[in-house]
């Protein structure tokens, strides 16, 4: 039982993926308990600072999930988010973050099954990558 258990900060949109997580729960779909969920009003609310903050504080992975394109509760928030995430993911992976630590998905509130499946995939991918080692803020070691 010495398997590495990653800690994954998960941002879920209130209107879809958060509902999907709820549906997965009431439907008794199993998925590993490695996520720490942060409920957000829209994937467009997630800023680069939040993602970097999670990584700096030692999260092994960050997963952001919102509504499918066209289904945003605020009409177009996830379209803006998509541009932002594209630039951020490229920039972070360009500067040394392992591909896979930062994950994105679109999951509607009717997709409890997809939620459980993606949760499995995300967690296993990050488990394979091992503990995060980069961009983590550690307190200085004082003799």
């Amino acid at each position: 039982m010495n398997q590495f258990e990653p800690k994954i900060i998960t941002f879920l949109c209130n209107w879809c993926s958060y509902g999907a997580a709820d549906l997965a729960g009431v439907s008794r779909f199993q998925y590993p308990p490695n996520m720490r969920v942060v409920r957000i009003p829209c994937s467009g609310r997630v800023s680069a600072k939040m993602i970097l903050h999670a990584i700096r504080n030692g999260a092994d992975g960050v997963w952001i999930s919102g509504c499918h394109p066209g289904d945003c509760h605020y009409i177009e928030g996830n379209y803006y988010a998509r541009r932002k995430f594209y630039l951020l993911k490229e920039l972070l992976e360009y500067s040394g973050l392992e591909p896979g630590r930062l994950q994105f998905s679109w999951i509607s509130s009717a997709e409890g099954v997809k939620f459980a499946e993606v949760a499995h995939e995300v967690i296993e991918k990050i488990r394979d990558l091992g503990p995060a080692s980069r961009f983590i803020k550690r307190l200085p070691e004082v003799a």
């Binding site: 970097l52 700096r56 379209y79 998509r82 541009r83 995430f85 920039l91 360009y94 500067s95």
Partner: protein, 329 residues
């Protein structure tokens, strides 16, 4: 007529006719290889304006609301009009600022400067290690003199690296030009335009992390790059926010990295690669390695080139149904 004379004549004329209240430009500083920003408000002061290969700063950084503030409606005074001398990259930053509603197009009078690139100060000092008293420019060469001794260098040898991949040398918007437009480099479609970025992209994640750790290891967090940048005008910068504190204040590698990453991300889709950040850096950190990546991504992902058209909204203020989305499950 010399470029500097034309520039001064234009500035004098504008000030004498009262068409502008001030002219923002460069003047020679106490060091031969440096210039300083200068706001001329009288025709006599306009005589100090210069434009040469050492005008590395981006003057758009000084077009702040404070500069335009004295003419608020309640004061009954007209909002001041400012003329600004602009290189190609400066003009693209002015376009960006107008797109972002910093000021209106008719508040600035743009005196276009045909630019053949700026001389890197480190390269100049390396060419003349004993120091430089005066710099004379002639037909693509720079003559660096010190105590009567002259060193002649070709301008292309000492250019800043961003000027070698410049896509716009003449201002995209201008009210007049202080000289004939220079031929463009046509780097826009050049296959090697982003060769430097591609080289880093090809590394493994561990090598990338190592590369950037070395790259920023000298950073003292003085924020000269931020202050020199015409994009960095937030009322409170993320580095100064304390609740929550997004970025640590120390020079520990992770804090430095977090600063440079977020700075580059805030400049995504807005950076014109003017090189003012690198020119301002006292530690000569090539931090354009970060922003160049965002320029490349905005171009490849959204077909976006910063500051080319006043009528377009910034790339993160709009979207397209066909935006790249393969990375999302």
């Amino acid at each position: 007529m010399e470029l500097n004379d034309t520039l001064r004549d234009i500035a004098k004329k504008l000030l004498e006719e009262g068409r502008v209240d001030a002219v923002l430009g460069f003047r020679q500083s106490s060091l031969a290889h440096m210039t300083e920003p200068f706001l001329a408000t009288t025709a006599e002061q306009a005589d100090q304006l210069v434009f040469n290969s050492c005008c590395r700063m981006n003057l758009a950084v000084y077009l702040t609301p404070d500069l335009f503030r004295s003419g608020r409606p309640e004061s009954g005074k007209k909002s001041p009009r400012v003329a600004v001398t602009a290189k190609g990259c400066d003009s693209r930053n002015i376009v960006t600022q107008i797109q972002e509603n910093r000021y209106k197009r008719d508040q600035v009078h743009i005196i276009g400067l045909p630019c053949t690139g700026m001389a890197d100060k480190a390269k100049l000092l390396a060419a003349a290690p004993e120091g430089i008293d005066t710099i004379t420019e002639k037909n693509g060469t720079l003559i660096l003199s010190r105590d009567g001794k002259e060193t002649v260098v070709s301008k292309t040898e000492v250019l800043q690296s961003n000027c070698l991949s410049c896509i716009i040398r003449n201002p995209v918007i201008r009210d007049e030009m202080a000289g004939d437009p220079v031929p463009e480099l046509d780097m826009d479609s050049h296959p090697d335009r982003f060769a430097d970025v591609a080289e880093i992209e090809a590394l493994s994640p561990a090598d990338k992390a190592g590369f950037f750790e070395t790259l920023v290891s000298d950073c003292t967090r003085c924020y000269a790059c931020r202050n020199a940048c015409p994009l960095c005008y937030c009322p409170v910068c993320f580095v100064d926010e304390s609740r929550p504190q997004w970025v640590g204040k120390t020079i520990a590698p992770t804090d430095v990295m977090a600063f440079h990453l977020l700075r580059a991300f805030h400049d995504a889709g807005r950076c014109t690669d003017c090189g003012a950040c690198e020119a301002a850096c006292p530690m000569d950190i090539p931090m354009r390695a970060f922003t160049r990546k965002t320029i490349k991504d905005a171009r490849e992902g959204f077909g976006w080139e910063t500051g080319m058209d006043l009528n377009l909204r910034p790339p993160l203020d709009r979207f397209d149904l066909k935006d790249p989305g393969d990375f999302i499950r």
